[in-house]
Symmetry: C2
Subunit: 244 residues, 2 copies
């Protein structure tokens, strides 16, 4: 028996997120079925996190046990060839028997893409939130600097998904611009439900002047969802990296 860590990449457009659920096609379901067919045995697959419907992943991690003699590298090609074109296995390695894709994760990096253009681009439409009005990168970065640090992020979390502890540490958060693509990168030790998407939505409202930088401290203190911005669309969000 050995424990394997798979790193996969997927275009989430057609999936209802990672986690298996009734009546929806999910990445975990497709990957489990493919893995079981490949190994010809049942497999329990544990992911590093749930992801929302429509969210993409450059590097998503999950683990499983197998007593097979298949070398790790063989999973990369063997599974990728059997998976649909929007899911790929990009790495596979053996890990310690007590390793857990979720609990061993020290942090995650997400990227969010905004297409700041009044021209629709069919090749970016699946992977970015298009905003026509000109966004203010300076202001957005000013907001990002307020996000960095250890805060109670309850106001940046979707209601109805309460967890006991809403304090998280964000170690980096910044915005860059390349032509008409704006990219927000954020790294933290953990993220609440919809936290990145609400941070992005709030960042855009700060750029628009609807929310002021001077209000952010109070927003953290009051912990009310109504004080933060819209939840940015899932399609612009990419899980970039899981840090172990």
């Amino acid at each position: 028996m050995k424990r394997m860590l798979l790193t996969i990449s997927y275009d989430g457009t057609l999936y209802h997120g990672w986690q298996v659920q009734p009546n929806s096609v999910t990445v975990q379901q497709i990957l489990s079925e493919t893995l079981e067919e490949f190994l010809n045995s049942s497999v329990s697959l544990s992911g590093c996190s749930r992801t929302d419907a429509g969210v993409h992943a450059k590097e998503f991690c999950c683990h499983f046990d197998c007593d097979d003699s298949i070398p790790p590298k063989a999973f990369i090609r063997g599974l990728s060839a059997r998976l649909p074109e929007d899911i790929s296995v990009i790495d596979c390695r053996q890990v310690d028997d007590d390793f857990h894709a979720r609990y061993n994760a020290k942090g995650k990096t997400y990227a969010y893409y905004i297409l700041n253009s009044n021209i629709k681009d069919p090749f970016k439409e699946r992977y970015a939130w298009r905003i026509e009005r000109k966004l203010d990168i300076e202001k957005m970065n000013e907001f990002c600097r307020k996000i960095v640090g250890t805060h109670d992020f309850e106001a940046f979390s979707s209601a109805g998904k309460t967890v006991a502890d809403t304090v998280r540490t964000v170690s980096e958060c910044f915005v860059t611009k390349n032509d008409d693509i704006i990219r927000l990168q954020i790294t933290g030790n953990g993220f609440l439900y919809n936290m990145v998407r609400i941070i992005v939505g709030t960042c855009v409202e700060v750029s628009d002047g609807k929310i002021l930088i001077s209000q952010i401290d109070d927003i953290f203190k009051n912990r009310k969802r109504e004080n933060t911005g819209v939840t940015a669309p899932a399609k612009g969000l990419f899980l970039e990296k899981v840090i172990y």
Copy 2:
């Protein structure tokens, strides 16, 4: 009555090419329906060329007549908003009454993308032909230089689609590499059916050593499809620009 030239961009993955045909969804059909709804009148839409099923376009041109007072710029936003996410109108301008999107075209530029990697990438899979074995850029460019010029391209055209004149002039053809993406760019005054895809397939076979540079002159002379390479998959092909 005025004649308008539309420039559109589309991800061809889900379409059976440009031209309306029974029992298949095409870009022309979707655009015509959207335009007729927008103008509330029937419209005849003429494209710059047919494109194959699954081929993409960065800039495809088509024209139509309307007696509407809508300013050209209004078509860009108005149509794009009504079109599905994989089709966009990126420009619209008034042209002379006798302008024709197809017959006035002096040439076209196509680009073909190859992902030269043994790792499947779900974000490139829709837009590139993935080849695992290492390709030889030097050899590919040597082949491209043989393609430039005025030649009888019948051997580079799919059988069964014969046209009277199979002589075409290619003014540029070259390959560049950026990380694991190989891009072939070709410009010509006209292209036969599947010509670019067969040139790409032949270029790859030259890289593999299955076809020799020294054979190319004979291939042109003998005009036999059996002497050229495979037809590269549609998904890697982009119409980049129509030259008027």
